[in-house]
Assembly symmetry: C3
Homo-oligomer: 350 residues x 3
């Protein structure tokens, strides 16, 4: 394990992550990636500690990833699923969290459909003066830090497997395509990619990428002075020398010479909300196909947080092509990154 | 661990618990409380044993408490939840239990909405001559022994943290407030508190505390000769020297000089059954507030089995006041008590 | 553990199992049966490996059996249940499986209501060139190999506890009674029993045992040259010297001198599909009772894969009679067999 000091007590958002923190996470995950290739894929690091997965919004995939990460660190795990819980008995979220605290939970992994719930739980734990850590596993349309970190790790280890670090992305062009407006994954990715010095190009239909969104990002960003928004002909913002974030209402300018294309999951609910005409039209305009990929750099790679709607965000055959698709690597990176995050949060208090 | 011998094979009810048994449980739990404060909160005591949580009635809170207790004793756990089970395929409860027996379960933790189910399973196990232990985790409106024992442990460790024992409650005045009629928690608490020599004052509206209830307790109690019922002006029973159980249809006489106030969860279903006018009226008459608390001893403490309906059984701000509320301690005590119970049942057969 | 080599990478069907494979499984299970009788019922064999239970069709009983088997081999387990999964988000089954692969799963235990799903997942894993093993835990009306193997183990250990082996069944008469047409358990049992040299008599109403079914078995069987079908007066097929499989539309000829009677679970859905008149009539004609059992050998034993509809497939009192019923032994054998299967699949790759 890297010997770097780690002072962050909760992982709620990437908006204020420092380069040193990103690099510590990436290097720690690389060490665990090595553990995962061993005969016995388990380390005793968190033995006797309890990781509670408080999933107020159900998610088999993310919960399994955190569960396996915790078990490989030898932690005990508790799974809370809202569906079968006393939530239906009218208990508040903070009371549920305090119950798991009182049972001896060391790390709470929290997912909720409302933005801010993990922050609220973390604030309550701090107010109580307890050493429990909170890890945001996705809150509403706000953030999903572990997903963005695993995306970062997937890309960085592709470039330098032994020494993944933030600076490897400097100057790379990365397209984020799809339902940016509703995506907590996109939000977290924007913070990490901007921090790396990459050029980030968002592409979506106007309904899923309103101009207001860009202004929101500028306003909420702690480093808003570091980057300037847009460049697409459909956006009036002028190009500036240190510009890092670009918004497009067409796919093509985002793909042009891109090194990586991050696709976002399209929630089918968007259709019923009249934000999209049809899945077919979406695929025609913003779906990634082998033909459209020719706009990118020759060795371009595609990411997707999963689960994929085959033939919508990505053509089915492209998704299965290991030359281009990093989707399976992302899942594997997810376990290593979550081991790293649980380790960094947990080893301090063990 | 205390060296006291333990002969009880199942824990189904507190009605016939002896003082020695209470004290063994309390002292064993105190030892585990100490383990829980260590860096590695785990002991190998039940390694290789299987604890099956057979929760025919769902309960995240109690199930998590038993699960974490079992894991900290290094037992393997199996969770059975009726919702996703073959119960829907028409299997009987005893057949389900026998299936878990045949799979090698050592301890069955059973919760069911019908009173008597854990007893029936225990009787069947005994009939079969097997060494499996059954632990009642709440059956209908009958008993919830581990809840009453954790309440007892919470109070006793407050008085003497190192040597919690039953006699510490002798002469204390304890009020039990709320839906006594439907509460398995109240029933189990009445047995342990009476056994301790405490003075127990039940307070509830007449619909939730009928006079018949008192007679039922007298009749079903193995120590019915030890105590006499009531004293409230609304009850005609005369006061007698060795009286330990008192029933009140108003809150105030129960709170008067009380050392501890145990509040009971109010099931909202009671309203629809016309047993209560409204939550608001209930709170006004029987809800615990800072004002009403002034009737009690100055250092009075409040308990609640959780989950709390904030602003109904207790005012929200009082619930969060660590000077008065023992609610969080109860949850922590729950893990220690359940470790003690599993240890006492399991160590004999390991 | 036996030192026999084991080359099979997936366990999907018993249709092409060799005698050596059956015997290796039986002997390995016997070793684990011995482990299960020890004080600490746990071995470190699969430490650090991950067994994922991918139950697209829910089953508490089978899932618990695999879970406890995996835990006793010290593997980590992940439970996927379709109900709470991202399946509802439109992900394909193969994508779900690949996600669990990418998370580091070593063995996938797969149950699905459609026949062929475990095979499809196994084929995909092989295509990807990965070392993950797939174990069919029941697919549609196709096969349920671990159930048939535990039935085999239950019978063989009854005959020779220390050396269970396939040849012990040679010449035994075994009746399989009930909903043969829809039963994956029956299909898997037919393969193992025919391989053992036993005489297999299927008995069911014509709607649940059409003549086409026999032809299907003959056609799909890899050893179809080894046996000939039928003998019942209601079936026109002539008797031949090496005949091993017999079909009957009445119960009696199947029970006549039977050594073992395997009853099948009757899905109540069959009634609504007009395949059966009533449960009562079914029980009268095909239910096993003490009276009907007199047709069998005196020391006949009854099996049932569970959960039993008491009073339908078997009379309730017969089910509980340890002189005749092997139902509890089957559940216990299930853990030993599943430990053996996981061990044989997992030890090669550890």
């Amino acid at each position: 394990m890297p010997t770097t000091t780690w002072n962050r007590h909760h992982i709620l958002s990437l908006a204020d992550f420092t380069t040193a923190e990103y690099d510590t996470v990436l290097q720690t995950a690389a060490s665990f990636q090595e553990v995962l290739s061993r005969r016995t894929k388990k380390v005793p690091t968190l033995q006797g500690q309890v990781v509670a997965n408080l999933f107020f919004e159900p998610s088999t995939r993310t919960r399994s990833s955190f569960e396996i990460a915790a078990k490989r660190l030898s932690a005990d795990t508790l799974n809370f699923a809202a569906a079968t819980s006393s939530m239906t008995k009218g208990e508040t979220i903070l009371d549920t969290a305090k119950t798991y605290l009182a049972m001896g939970t060391d790390i709470m992994v929290v997912r909720h459909r409302e933005a801010g719930v993990p922050n609220a739980i973390a604030a309550e734990m701090d107010r109580l003066g307890v050493r429990v850590s909170v890890l945001n596993a996705g809150d509403g349309q706000h953030e999903h830090p572990s997903q963005a970190l695993l995306d970062l790790f997937t890309i960085c280890t592709l470039i330098d497997p032994d020494h993944p670090r933030l600076e490897l992305l400097k100057g790379k062009k990365i397209a984020i395509v799809g339902d940016v407006l509703h995506s907590r994954v996109a939000r977290s990715n924007i913070w990490s990619l901007i921090a790396s010095g990459a050029e980030v190009h968002l592409a979506a239909p106007p309904t899923l990428l309103p101009k207001l969104f860009a202004e929101f990002i500028l306003e909420s960003g702690v480093r808003s002075q570091d980057f300037v928004i847009s460049s697409s002909p459909s956006f009036p913002t002028p190009h500036s020398p240190n510009q890092q974030l670009f918004l497009h209402w067409q796919l093509e300018p985002a793909l042009q010479n891109a090194d990586f294309v991050m696709t976002l999951r399209l929630q089918k609910e968007r259709m019923t909300a009249h934000l999209l005409p049809s899945l077919r039209e979406y695929h025609q305009l913003f779906g990634i196909t082998r033909t459209k990929l020719q706009l990118c750099k020759p060795n371009v790679k595609i990411l997707h947080p999963g689960p994929v709607n085959r033939g919508v965000e990505i053509s089915s055959e492209l998704m299965d092509d290991p030359e281009f698709s990093l989707i399976q690597s992302q899942v594997t990176s997810g376990v290593a990154i979550r081991m790293a995050l649980l380790y960094l949060l947990g080893s301090g208090k063990a």
